[in-house]
Structure formats: C-alpha cells, structure tokens
C-alpha cells in the first residue's frame, strides 16, 4: 500500500514537472521563427501519431479491433468536411455496432 501511494505521488510529480518544463524553459519570450516553424508542424504530426497509437493500442504490439472501423468511417467523413461532432459520433457508433456484431 505504501508502494502504491509512493507511486501515485511520484507519477503526479513527474506529470506536473513534464507539463511545467516547456513553459518554464520558454518563459514569456516568443519562439524564434525557426522554433515556431517546428511547433507549427507539431500539432498535426503529434496528433497523427496519437491516432495510430490510440487506434492500435500501445502495448508493444498491434491490437487491431473495432476502433479501426470507427476510424475508417471517420476519415472519409472528415474529408467530406462533416462537422467534427458528427464525425466523432459516427466513429463511436460504428465502433459500438462493430463490437456488438463481432464481439
């Protein structure tokens, strides 16, 4: 139990420190044009990677499941400029229906 509480505290502190590090390093300065050119690309590259890891599961192996169907429905909907809320709902419904049928 002590080891559990110690772990919880350590993870909380590490998490806060990681989130604080960027703002502390940068402070109230604006990023240089070069650094800004990188962070301008960061959002889409990081989110593209999160799509992959959250869809395939990140436990050191591929775990393709119904979520893949949900994403396969979301992608063309986004390309057709459907509102994001609609896309998110479609993905959830497609995933749930796929699981209900193929369990």
């Amino acid at each position: 139990m002590i080891s559990l509480w110690a772990t919880i505290l350590a993870v909380a502190l590490a998490n806060a420190a990681i989130k604080a590090a960027g703002p502390i390093l940068v402070g109230d300065r604006d990023l240089s044009p070069k650094a800004n050119a990188v962070t301008a690309l960061l959002a889409s590259s990081l989110l593209a990677a999160l799509v992959v890891t959250e869809t395939l599961g990140g436990e050191g192996r591929f775990a393709f499941d119904a979520k893949g169907v949900g994403l396969a429905v979301a992608a063309p909907a986004l390309l057709l400029r459907a509102p994001v809320l609609v896309v998110v709902a479609l993905a959830a419904v497609a995933t749930a229906v796929t699981r209900a049928y193929f369990g």
């Binding site: 919880i8 960027g22 703002p23 962070t39 959002a43 989110l47 593209a48 990677a49 479609l90 959830a92």
Partner: protein
C-alpha cells in the same frame, strides 16, 4: 493572389486584464469540450472500477485522479501493477507515455500568460484534447480555450473515478459504447485538414503516422509518439514559408 501569412500583427489585444472576451473564450472552450468530458467521465468510471478490482481501496484511485489527471499514465500504472510490475517500472512507463507533454508545453508556452511560474501552472491545463481544441494553426494556441476545455474534462475524470470506485460499473462499458473511438477520431481532424491542404504539412503528418505505425510493435508505449514529434523538425527546412 494576396495571402495573409499571419494574423499576429492584426490581432486585437484588448488590454491585459480579464475581460468579456476572455470569459467568452473560456466558455467556448468548455462548450467545445462537452463531448470529450462525457467520454472522459465514462473512462474515469472504468479507471475507478479497475483500480478497485486491483485492491487500491477508495482514497488512492480518487487521489490519483485529483493530482494527476492523465488517463494514459494512470491506466499504465494499473497495467504495470496488474501484471506484477514494481513501482519503478510503473513510474518509468508513465513518464515515457507523458513525455509528449514536454513538446506540447514548449509549443503552447508563448500563448500562455504571465511569468515563468504562472505559465508553468497554466501549462498544467494541457491535455491532448484541450491542446488540440486550442490549436489555431501556425503554432498559435488560444489560452482561454485550452483552460476552458480542460475544466469540465478534469471534473469529469475525478467524478467518474469516484463513481467507479464507489458505485462500480454504473454507466456501462467504455468499449461496448464505442467511446474509446472518440479521441482518436477527433485527433484525426487536424491531420486530415493538413492532408487536404497538401504540401509539406501533409507530408509531415503522413510521415509521423507512418513512423508511429512502424514503431508500435517494437518500442515501449509512448516512444512512437515522441519519435513522431521529431518529424516536425522538417519545418526547419524552410522557416517562415506560409503553408
């Protein structure tokens, strides 16, 4: 054709104090985050149920959600403990999974307010969905939108955890409801937007996804996303080019 490269110079700055526009920004963020808050609540319930089943008691899981608010890190700790791993392995896994927040914090830092300490506190509001919702392109972020979006998700995560610990599986299974598809489907929106615009940004998004795909089977969780962040360095090739 006239192309406006950056709105920074034209952006109206209505003083430094908290004004009407700020309040609207927080509210807009909170409103945009409602669907994610609902999904987060259900995820929180499942975390609470899981933690209880591992014999964590009532206080520990709720305290964990209160002081950490990180689904990826907290589920990782249950996974490590659940498979007989030790405290050190659990912390290491959580740190690796959340290392992405370092890059996200650097990106968002100039959009926060105040000195280093205040920015470090405001930076705690960075979670994946809020950071994505607050992104305004070209490396700019909407601070009020970020904070407004995080508040309902944080509340949902803590309340969800408490419900899961105390009442058990009350809202149904996250997976059965397909709610685990909500976050990746939302994260897909921005890369798809880049794909449509074509050019270097589309190439970087595709490269990042491909790199993550290749690394998932061979590296510990967290590493594929950090590696994919490196693809953003391709922005150095031609800085300032508005595309």
């Amino acid at each position: 054709m006239l192309v406006v490269t950056s709105g920074e110079k034209q952006r109206p700055r209505c003083g430094t104090g908290r004004g009407y526009d700020d309040d609207k920004g927080y509210l807009a963020g909170a409103r945009a985050a409602v669907p994610f808050a609902l999904a987060t609540a259900v995820l929180g319930v499942s975390f609470g149920v899981l933690a209880r089943s591992l014999g964590w008691g009532i206080a520990a899981p709720v305290a964990f959600s209160l002081i950490t608010f990180s689904g990826s890190a907290q589920f990782a700790v249950t996974a490590v403990f659940g498979t007989g791993g030790g405290a050190l392995a659990a912390v290491a896994t959580a740190v690796l999974l959340n290392a992405r927040f370092l890059a996200m914090g650097i990106a968002i830092a100039p959009s926060l307010k105040g000195g280093r300490l205040r920015r470090a506190v405001e930076g705690q509001a960075v979670v994946d969905a809020s950071w994505a919702l607050a992104s305004r392109g070209n490396g700019r972020f909407d601070r009020e939108h970020l904070i407004g979006a995080t508040i309902p998700q944080y509340a949902a995560w803590v309340v969800g955890t408490a419900m899961g610990v105390l009442a058990g599986d009350v809202v149904g299974d996250v997976k059965r409801l397909g709610l685990d598809a909500i976050f990746p489907a939302f994260f897909l929106a921005l890369p798809v937007e880049e794909l449509r615009s074509g050019g270097r940004r589309a190439a970087v998004a595709l490269l990042a996804a491909a790199l993550a795909l290749v690394l998932v089977p061979f590296t510990p969780p967290g590493v594929p996303v950090i590696a994919a962040c490196v693809t953003a360095l391709l922005g150095l090739g031609n800085p300032g080019r508005p595309q």
